[in-house]
Amino acid sequence: MSVTVDPGTDATGAIVPSVDVAPESQPVGWHHRHLLDVDGLSASDLDLVMRTADAMHEVLGRPIAKVPALRGRQVTILFYEASTRTRVSFEVAAKNLSADVVNIAAASSSVAKGESLVDTVKTVEALGAHMLVMRHSVSGAPYLAAEVFGGSVLNGGDGWHAHPTQALLDLYTMRERLGSVAGRKVVILGDLLHSRVVRSNIWTLTAAGADLWLCGPPTLVRGFEAWAGRGAAAGRRFQVTTNVDEALRDADVVMALRIQRERMASGLLPSMREYAARYGLTRDRLALARPDALVMHPGPMNEGVEIAPDVAAGVQSVITDQVTNGVAVRMALLYLLAGTHGTRGSSAT
């Protein structure tokens, strides 16, 4: 279908972005082409993601949980690191929006033959990808991909650096239960050092006004005190402590992070058992928090290490909500990002 977009002369072809926006002074729309981290998102950006995710959440409850919003768009999922929930969550999200999904596991692709990241990204684009969801073990890899990719890049986790969609689904889950996180005490407990989840959550939770506390053993909170001293951004402070009782007292949300066994070889912890005894989220420790405090975990869990099985499965746990909300939030992000770059091939009917 050919359309003359010349608003000055063709009144009927006025395909202006203000279709729904102008008359009611809506908040400004989405202007980020990529989602590499959440540090660049404003409070109104976060609000737009949350409201769009609400709409997606409603779609997930329909008899046919599928809408044609991304028909004709190709979403390529390129994962250089093992993942189940994030990869499948992105895949389900893209399919729910009627996008075409291509999955590439780096281990079974030309990457194993030594192809560079840049070449792989260019190949993916030449094969028709409009959006690239990427996970990489090297911090910053998605930024390199974004430099060479013509469409939008979504970071599905890079090294220790960032996991923006996880932070956004965490915020969504908290807001769903608490209404607002402003002034609420949110505790993130565990291996901060190796966690991209906490590094992204610092940005979103301080932007949303939460009273954020980070807690872990001294070897696993290294560097975070200095960051806390500076604040995430102007006026956005958070606390770091190694005292788990102080952290948990009167908390509204407790998020346990996975102890990454594969990264423990260097002797940062004496043993898993010692960690579980001193920092594991047990029923007794949880009793320090508010009685209705939410229990969260980004998964995958080591039950009995950072979180006790009865806590993970308890009434305060919203861990399975996080998984469902992850689909809604990723649908929202794919939808919003799809509007920020030119079209290659028309999906118009």
């Binding site: 279908m1 359309v3 977009v5 608003p7 000055g8 009144a11 009927t12 072809g13 006025a14 395909i15 202006v16 972005p17 203000s18 279709v19 729904d20 926006v21 102008a22 008359p23 009611e24 809506q26 908040p27 729309g29 989405w30 202007h31 737009l48 409201r51 769009t52 609400d54 709409a55 409603e58 779609v59 329909r62 008899p63 046919i64 599928k66 809408v67 044609p68 919003a69 991304l70 004709g72 768009r73 929006l97 939808y335 919003l336 799809a338 509007g339 920020t340 079209t343 028309s346 999906s347 118009a348 009917t349």
Partner: protein, 192 residues
Amino acid sequence: MSSRQIMTADEIRRATTRLSHEIMEKQAGTAGLMLIGIQRRGVPLAGRIAASIAATEGVDVPVGALDITFYRDDLSLVAEQPIVKGTELPSGIDGRTIVLVDDVLYTGRTIRAAMDALVDFGRPQAIRLAVLVDRGHRELPIRADHVGKNIPTSREEVVKVHLEEIDGVDSVEIERTLGDPEGDVSTREFAR
């Protein structure tokens, strides 16, 4: 840009009342009826029609809201994704007579999108269409069953419906937008 009023608050009220009578007449009662307003201004209109039916028949007809954003055929053409306002249906739609309610009928593309959205929720017995204003210039084979007012327009004009629930005032106006690049956008009806 000049603007002139084509429906006053009283005229909107009378048209809405007449629409409610027509809908009941056509359906021979209210059994199985459901009103679904299209976001945004179709939603308060559907509520008003339901209130009018309740006043005359003493029956509360279920009312829903439908957001058609994800079903638009121009998502790849707009520079920025439209903001989603949400869908809320009071119950399943299987076997019901659905009356879609919108403020302005123009190209028909919104209604096409609305019907696509509806059939994803189930299989209604029938889908009908009620609009406050029909301004012509259809681009699809779609017509309204119930029309508040037919208003002949040119494509260079914009029909603006203001409703108290959203805009603080009830009024329908026509604006001429010759040479205005922002023109031709009624509340939602999207051009090609």
